[in-house]
């Protein structure tokens, strides 16, 4: 693996150049306490010291709302206009948990049916990761074979070390970007920085408060679809969509047509949430998940079992957003702990 060094003082200039030549998406401080990934026109808009964005950056590749086709019916022909090719994009400043989540999303959209809307954006996006420097009390990425400085899945991985960024070049895409902006990426003393990064990672890993042990949890769920435990958990759930919309791995969507004129219209796809009653509502009125109990169970089954069954990948990356955002303190790490106990007592 190749590595480089970027001087901290030169990062703004690099970001300005990246924004000039690409669509640059980066963390932005939207309000005092809100950080979101947004398109930026230069380094001055980027919030480098953010910890976790309030909403995951998955929307850059899988937008909450996207027009997939526009149609016009002219009397005897139906004209359809597909999406334009997405712009060349650089997604900068992604934390390891969120990079890991994109790896969990890839096989969903690149399975038996190729989802071109996702895949085209994925292909045109260079992911620049940014190692964490602060561990929140809600963080638990280490439970999913990741860590605060893990660059797996990033094209380039930046780690802040003193007045420099140590940059790991992980892919072809990353390598071409380094070449195109070679004046910012020096060869420097990368061995020493690699060691410093390892030490920093170790130090940060010691700061995780949540020790999450997944051993045996999937087995409990494999063997028990019905568990009295769910009767307890769902009661406090308000049935809102916060957990699914801030989650970096949730990927359910709905497709519908929006008629704009007598013979014209657009087809959209929008994020959907399994927490909403109409998510599984069928024509005729039957709902296989009639109450919040089934819906809450489904969400955790998806995170801890179904995703593993389908793709052999964890459905959760330990970003902790659902924990800190849930208005009633439904906490996935508590649920993991409880399910383990259920398994041990069975």
């Amino acid at each position: 693996m190749d590595s480089r060094v970027v001087n901290k003082g030169q990062l703004p200039e690099l970001l300005d150049k990246l924004a000039r030549d690409h669509t640059l998406i980066a963390p932005v401080r939207e309000e005092e306490n809100v950080t979101l990934f947004k398109k930026v026109s230069g380094a001055s808009e980027v919030q480098l010291d953010y910890i976790t964005s309030d909403v995951s950056p998955k929307g850059c590749i899988f937008p909450q709302t996207e027009k997939t086709i526009s149609y016009t019916y002219t009397g005897d022909t139906l004209e359809m206009k597909e999406q334009d090719e997405p712009p060349k994009t650089v997604l900068f400043g992604v934390r390891p948990c969120d990079i890991n989540s994109i790896l969990a999303l890839d096989p969903v959209f690149e399975g038996k049916f190729l989802d071109t809307y996702y895949l085209e954006k994925r292909k045109n996006t260079v992911i620049i990761g940014l190692s964490c420097s602060t561990i929140l009390s809600t963080c638990f990425c280490t439970a999913f074979n990741s860590g605060p400085c893990d660059g797996k899945g990033a094209d380039l991985m930046f780690t802040e070390l003193g007045d420099k960024y140590y940059v790991e070049v992980n892919t072809e895409k990353g390598s071409s970007l380094v070449e195109a902006y070679s004046q910012y990426f020096s060869k420097g003393d990368t061995d020493k920085l690699a060691k410093a990064k390892e030490e920093q990672a170790k130090k940060l890993e010691g700061q995780f408060r949540r020790k999450v042990d997944l051993e045996g949890v999937k087995q409990v769920l494999d063997e028990n679809f019905e568990l009295p435990y769910w009767d307890k958990v769902f009661k406090k759930c308000l049935g809102c969509g916060i957990c699914t919309y801030v989650c970096p791995t949730c990927h359910c969507f709905d497709i519908f047509d929006y008629v704009t004129g007598e013979f014209t219209g657009d087809r959209f796809r929008c994020w959907d949430s399994c927490m909403f009653p109409d998510f599984t509502l069928m024509a005729g009125g039957h709902n296989p998940r009639p109450s919040r109990k089934e819906r809450v169970r489904n969400r955790f089954m998806h995170k801890l079992k179904y995703h593993l069954d389908r793709y052999n990948l964890d459905g959760c990356v330990g970003c902790g957003r659902c924990i800190s955002k849930c208005p009633v303190n439904i906490d996935i790490t508590q649920i993991i702990k409880d399910l383990k106990e259920v398994g041990q007592n069975a």
Binding site: D54, T65, S137, C240, I242, C270, F276, I323, V328, N329
Partner: protein
Amino acid sequence: MMDVIQQLREQAKKLLEEKKVEMVIGFGEGTELARTTPVFITNPEEVSALTWGPLCANNLVKYLIDYQNLPGNVAVVVKGCDSRSVNRLLTDNQIDREKVVVLGVPCSGQLDWKIVAAAVDPAAKLKGFSDDGESFTVNTDAGDYKFDKKEAMLHKCLVCENPNPVVSDITVGKEQPVKNYEDRFAEVKALEQLGTEEKSVFWDKQFSRCLRCYACRNVCTVCTCRTCVFDQMQPMWVSKRNNLSENTAFHLIRAFHVAGRCVDCGECDRVCPVDIPLRKLNQKILKDLGDLFDAPTPGSEAGLASPLGEFATGDPEEFM
């Protein structure tokens, strides 16, 4: 505050043992020191799960709607602000007064849990709270943390009208004085000063980041429709597309739908995952209702009708 917890547990135990209620809805310890979580207790042996303190912001009255058809009675722990929701649900015929036991707890303010979480050692264990009037002290095994009320309380608590429950069957704890730290509508008045353009810029920025997770609706105690217009597919009043136009339509419809019924519990504001200051919308309407119709905060008195739901010949007709 520890004796309030003890009394709450005793009262809950008694209610369950004497079969006066089937369930007690209260606050329990959360998964982090700075958080609490709603608990639903049906077994008198489990009342030790109940807790109380300045980290009990949730309005638990919302859950009464879930249990309105339970054959037995339900007891619910309420603060002053939450108690207005009880009155409001009674006026809306959503709950049966005979089937609800209100466990009222006078409240001297609720802390913003995020401020507490940021200050306290995450490994610390909670030992208790104390309140000296102007600040709360959170006692933990890793030391004491003092939080100035003005700095760390939820905004709604700085302008609290009802620290003591306005409806209560069993009151636990000492009566609390009304303390206003600032003009109740100061924030709304500041917004009113802006020009039309500036107001639009302000709200456009807020609404454009709405995720349409509907947490504000789902947490709201006056949102009781069986099928909400926002869930309706035909006709589709507001589409699932997330854009400024649809999001604005959602928020304005929501604000006007609860106008005259919103009890100003501030829950919509608290739960928003992207910090949209939703309470400002509701407060503007509350302020106008006060100015125009001399209407008190909905729910603050039993049987209070909605100012927009009744007609009086003396009503102003400025727009006619």
